[in-house]
C-alpha cells in the first residue's frame, strides 16, 4: 500500500470516529466495561496460578527409611529413588535434623519435644521432590514399593485438590473472558452498523468508482483500532493503580506469608499490554465485521 493511501485511511478513520461521537462513546463504553472485567479476571487467574505454583514447589515427599535398614540398604534405596524418571531432587536428612526442624516449626510448644532428643523416635528420611509437581502422587506411589521404606508421606489430599481447583479456576476464567470478549465485539459491531447506514451512500460511491473491498475496509479498521485503544485507557489505569495499591499497601495473606502476589513490575505492565491488545482486537474485529455486509454487490 502506498504511504499516501495509508495516510488517507488514517485520516478517514479518525474523522469518522469524531464525526459519530455518540457512537464512539457507546462503543468505547462497551469496550471499557469488558476490559475492566477481563483485566480483573486476568489478574486473578495469573495470581491464582502463581500461588498454586508456589504451593506446588513446597510439595515434597517424605520417605521414612526403615529403622532397621543397614547403611548399604539406605544407599541402595537412594539409588533406586534417583532412578525413577520423574524425580527431581533427593535430599537425605538424619532423624536429628528432622527433630530439630520439627521443634523449630512448633515454636513455644516445641520445647515439649526437646526431651525426645535423648531417644529420637523419628526416622531418617529422604526428602524427594518430583521434577514436575503434578507427578508427585505417582512418584510417591513408586517409592512406596521400594525396599527399606517404612512409610511415604506427602500432602496427598491437599495436593490433589489444589490441582483440581486450579484447573477449574483456569477453565472457568477462560470461558468467562472469551464470552465477555464476544459480547463486546457484538456490541461494537452493532453500534457501528447503525452509523454505516448513514455511510452507505459513501460506500456505494466508492464501489462505483472502483474501490476494492480492502480499500473500503481500511478506514473501518483504523476506526476500530481507535475505539479499542480508547476503551482500554480506563481499564489500564485501573489495573496499574489498583494493582500498585494491592501489592504495596495491602497485606492480604497475613496468615499465609508464604503466599505472595506477582510483583507489580513486570506483571501489571504485562497485563496492561494484554488489555490494550485485547481492546484493539475487539475494536478491529467488531468494526470490520460490521462493514462486511455492505461490501457485497
Amino acid at each position: 500500500m502506498k504511504l499516501s493511501t495509508l495516510k488517507r485511511h488514517m485520516k478517514e478513520g479518525t474523522r469518522n470516529t469524531w464525526r459519530n461521537s455518540w457512537m464512539t462513546i457507546a462503543s468505547v463504553g462497551a469496550v471499557t466495561t469488558t476490559l475492566i472485567l477481563v483485566g480483573t479476571f486476568l489478574i486473578l487467574m495469573f495470581n491464582l496460578n502463581h500461588v498454586a505454583e508456589q504451593l506446588e514447589e513446597d510439595v515434597q515427599i517424605k520417605t521414612m527409611i526403615d529403622l532397621t535398614a543397614e547403611q548399604s540398604e539406605v544407599n541402595q534405596l537412594e539409588e533406586n529413588i534417583r532412578s525413577i524418571d520423574e524425580v527431581g531432587t533427593v535430599e537425605f536428612r538424619t532423624k536429628e535434623e528432622e527433630l530439630e526442624s520439627l521443634i523449630e516449626s512448633m515454636g513455644e510448644q516445641g520445647e515439649a519435644w526437646e526431651m525426645y532428643q535423648q531417644s529420637n523416635p523419628l526416622n531418617d528420611v529422604f526428602v524427594v521432590k518430583a521434577a514436575d509437581p503434578a507427578n508427585t502422587a505417582k512418584v510417591a506411589n513408586e517409592i512406596g514399593t521400594l525396599n527399606a521404606v517404612d512409610k511415604v508421606e506427602y500432602g496427598e489430599d491437599y495436593v490433589d485438590r489444589l490441582f483440581t481447583f486450579n484447573d477449574y479456576a483456569r477453565n472457568i476464567g477462560l470461558i468467562l473472558i472469551v464470552a465477555l470478549i464476544f459480547t463486546a465485539i457484538f456490541l461494537i459491531s452493532n453500534t457501528i452498523k447503525i452509523t454505516i447506514m448513514a455511510r452507505k451512500k459513501e460506500i456505494n460511491i466508492m464501489k462505483l468508482v472502483g474501490a476494492t473491498n480492502g480499500f473500503i475496509r481500511w478506514p473501518f479498521f483504523v476506526e476500530g483500532l481507535i475505539l479499542g485503544v480508547l476503551g482500554s485507557i480506563i481499564p489500564v489505569a485501573l489495573t496499574l493503580f489498583g494493582y500498585y495499591y494491592l501489592t504495596h499497601n495491602v497485606v492480604i495473606f497475613e496468615q499465609f506469608s508464604f503466599v505472595q502476589l506477582l510483583p507489580f513490575t513486570p506483571f501489571a505492565w504485562q497485563v496492561s499490554g494484554l488489555i490494550i491488545g485485547i481492546g484493539a482486537a475487539i475494536g478491529v474485529w467488531g468494526s470490520v465485521m460490521s462493514v462486511r455486509k455492505f461490501l457485497k454487490v
Partner: protein, 228 residues
C-alpha cells in the same frame, strides 16, 4: 467494446427485466437507450457494471467476460467504466474538488497526479472556479457537471449516463449534452439512457429502444419515437 449475447434476467420477485438482449457497441460510439419506464434500461446499465448478473447469456465489456469475472476483479472493471446518475450522487460534505479527488484516491493515484487530473476535468466541465464549493452551493446543472467530471477522472473507456438530464431544465440539459459529446469526441464510448425526446431528436445518434426486456429498435441517427 460491448458485446451482449442472449441476456436473460429475472428479478427474485419474478419481474422479468431482460428477455433476450443481443447487442454490440463499438468503441467510440454514442448510444441513446430509450423506452418506457420499467422496460429494462436501468438493468441494462447495471449489467455493464456487474451490479446485476444475468441468469443466462454472455456479456463482454472492454474485452472482459463478465460471466466469469471473479469478485476480486469487479473493482477493476468499474475503473474502466464511468457512471453518471440522474440524482448526481455526490458526497454532500465534501467539496467539489474532494468529490473528484476521492474517485482518484480510491484507485490509489499519486497525490501529485490527482491534483493535476482534478483541475483538468474541472476545466473540461467549466467549474474550475467552484472547486472549493460544496454540492449544496451549486445549481443542479453544476452538480451534474461535477458528477461527470468525477466519472471521467480516471479516464474510463466507457461512460454510462442514466438519465443525466432527468432533473435538469432544458437549457442546462443542452450544456450537459455538449460536455458528453466532447467526452465522446475524445474516443470514450458514451451510453446514455434518457426520456428526453428533444435531445434524442436534436442530437442525432444511434438509438436503441428497449421494451419489455427486448430490443425493439436499433437505428443509427434514430428518432426518440415515443410521445413525450
Amino acid at each position: 467494446m460491448i458485446d451482449m449475447q442472449d441476456i436473460y434476467m429475472t428479478y427474485p420477485n419474478g419481474v422479468v427485466a431482460l428477455n433476450g438482449i443481443n447487442v454490440t457497441i463499438e468503441q467510440g460510439e454514442f448510444v441513446y437507450i430509450v423506452g418506457p419506464s420499467g422496460a429494462g434500461k436501468s438493468t441494462f446499465s447495471k449489467m455493464l457494471l456487474r451490479e446485476e448478473v444475468p441468469d443466462r447469456g454472455r456479456i463482454i465489456v472492454n474485452n472482459k467476460d463478465l460471466s466469469n469475472l471473479k469478485m476480486k476483479e469487479i473493482p477493476y472493471l468499474r475503473r474502466d467504466v464511468g457512471m453518471v446518475y440522474q440524482d448526481f450522487r455526490l458526497l454532500p460534505r465534501l467539496t467539489v474538488y474532494e468529490n473528484i479527488s476521492f474517485a482518484l484516491e480510491v484507485i490509489e493515484e499519486s497525490p501529485k497526479s490527482i491534483r493535476r487530473r482534478v483541475m483538468e476535468v474541472l476545466d473540461l466541465v467549466g467549474l474550475k472556479n467552484k472547486a472549493r464549493f460544496i454540492p449544496d452551493e451549486l445549481s443542479g446543472g453544476e452538480q451534474q457537471r461535477v458528477a461527470i467530471a468525477r466519472a471521467i477522472a480516471n479516464r474510463p473507456q466507457l461512460l454510462i449516463a442514466d438519465e443525466p438530464t432527468g432533473n435538469l431544465d432544458p437549457e442546462t440539459s443542452w450544456e450537459i449534452m455538449r460536455i458528453l459529446e466532447e467526452i465522446n469526441n475524445t474516443g470514450t464510448t458514451v451510453i446514455m439512457a434518457t426520456h428526453s425526446r428533444e435531445i434524442v431528436n436534436a442530437i442525432k445518434k444511434r438509438v436503441i429502444a428497449i421494451e419489455d426486456g427486448l430490443i425493439v429498435r436499433d437505428e443509427h441517427r434514430g428518432e426518440y419515437g415515443y410521445e413525450a
